[in-house]
């Protein structure tokens, strides 16, 4: 038996902080880490946004999939590209660069099971973004995943 959400507007990665406010300093540090990841210089914000949307889709997080962070759209990420991502037809689509494809493949495997990521998939990410980029990507995927999971969990608790 599953509880349904009591919230008029379900939480997302952007609003989950409201539900976690009772966590005080821990919640603030969680938000600070997320803010730092959004500013890191290795993986572009638009590409992290595509990763967020793909992970949201894999989580069946409907509200998260509808959410758009303003920064990536200002840097040129279009709804057309997002629609292609969400249709599943992105891997061989010329609108996606080789580095975007490398990162999105990695993000999918991370979302399914990080143990299933291959050396070749990690090498493709490193080819474009170096070892620091690979680590930054993994950290970002971890916190994106955490914020989505927490929003789904706390939808039931609020």
């Amino acid at each position: 038996m599953t509880s349904s959400s009591n919230l008029a507007t379900p939480l997302t990665s952007q609003t989950v902080g409201q539900a976690l406010k009772a966590g005080g300093n821990v919640a603030q540090e969680f938000d600070a880490f997320w803010a730092a990841l959004q500013k890191q210089p290795y993986i572009p914000a638009a590409l992290l946004e595509l990763c967020r949307l793909r992970l949201a889709q894999m989580h069946r997080a409907t509200e998260e999939v509808k959410l758009r962070y303003p920064g990536p759209q200002k840097s040129g990420l279009t709804e057309s590209k997002i629609a292609t991502l969400l249709s599943g037809q992105w891997e061989h689509n010329p609108a996606f660069t080789p580095e975007e494809v490398a990162v999105l493949i990695f993000a999918e495997m991370y979302g399914m099971d990080p143990a299933s990521i291959t050396d070749e998939q990690a090498d493709e990410v490193k080819k474009h973004f170096g070892e620091p980029g690979l680590v930054a990507l993994i950290q970002a995927l971890g916190i994106i995943d955490a914020r989505i999971r927490l929003s789904l969990v706390f939808n039931h608790l609020n």
Binding site: M1, T2, S3, A19, L20, K21, A22, G23, G24, N25, V26, A27, Q28, E29, F30, A32, F33, A35, A36, L37, K39, Q40, P41, Y42, H59, R60, Y110, P114, A115, I117, D119, A122, D123, K126, E131, P132, L134, V135, A136, I138, Q139, L141, G142, I143, D145, A146, R147, R149, L150, L152, V153, F154, H156, L157
Partner: protein, 182 residues
């Protein structure tokens, strides 16, 4: 899981197991991660033993070899024994773990296995036994540990097994002493 790790480590060695890991290759986020890690362990609303119970449930679910082998000294000082640690497995509901430990594990399992599926009976019991602050802290703890374990797994290179090892909790400003193999 054998083979080479997918990213190196910083050249400078600090003695802090997190700073000296591949996480140290991203200085732009390292201090923030350390701050979050510190805050989770020092939150105060739930003790280190219960935080460690959550951490180990995550470690075993993600199957992070390093995370599974570690025992933080603060949890041991707070009373967590290996006799209790071995009960953090499937079937813990029938173990001799305390009611709060079992509820914390059940909550962690919702996060780890299916965040869409949250039994209303469990929600009621969580609210009866934990404050809103404690529930928020448990959520943030399992989220942080899950991200960290998945980072270790995604970077690969861990051996198939490691001996259980007690280590000092790595904190933001501290380089711990050498590890003790349990």
């Amino acid at each position: 899981m054998e083979g080479k790790t997918r990213a190196g480590v910083p050249k400078a060695v600090t003695g802090n197991v997190i700073r000296d890991s591949s996480m140290g290759l991203v200085p732009e986020t390292l201090d923030n991660f350390m701050g979050l890690h510190d805050a989770v362990w020092k939150c105060g609303s739930i003790g280190p033993a219960l935080i460690e119970v959550i951490r180990l449930r995550n470690a075993r679910t993600v199957n992070c070899v390093f995370c599974r082998s570690v025992r933080y000294d603060v949890a041991k000082r707070d009373g967590l024994t290996e006799d209790r640690v071995v009960q953090i497995e499937d079937g813990y509901q029938d173990s001799s773990l305390s009611k709060k430990e079992k509820l914390a594990l059940a909550f962690a399992d919702v996060y780890l296995r299916d965040p869409h599926s949250f039994d209303p009976t469990l929600i009621k019991e969580l609210r009866e036994n934990f404050t809103a602050e404690q529930i928020a802290h448990m959520g943030l703890a399992v989220g942080t540990f899950n991200a960290a374990s998945k980072c270790a797994v995604a970077l690969a290179g861990m051996p198939e097994s490691l001996p259980v090892t007690e280590i000092p909790l790595p904190t933001r400003n501290h380089a711990p002493l050498a590890a003790k193999v349990a």
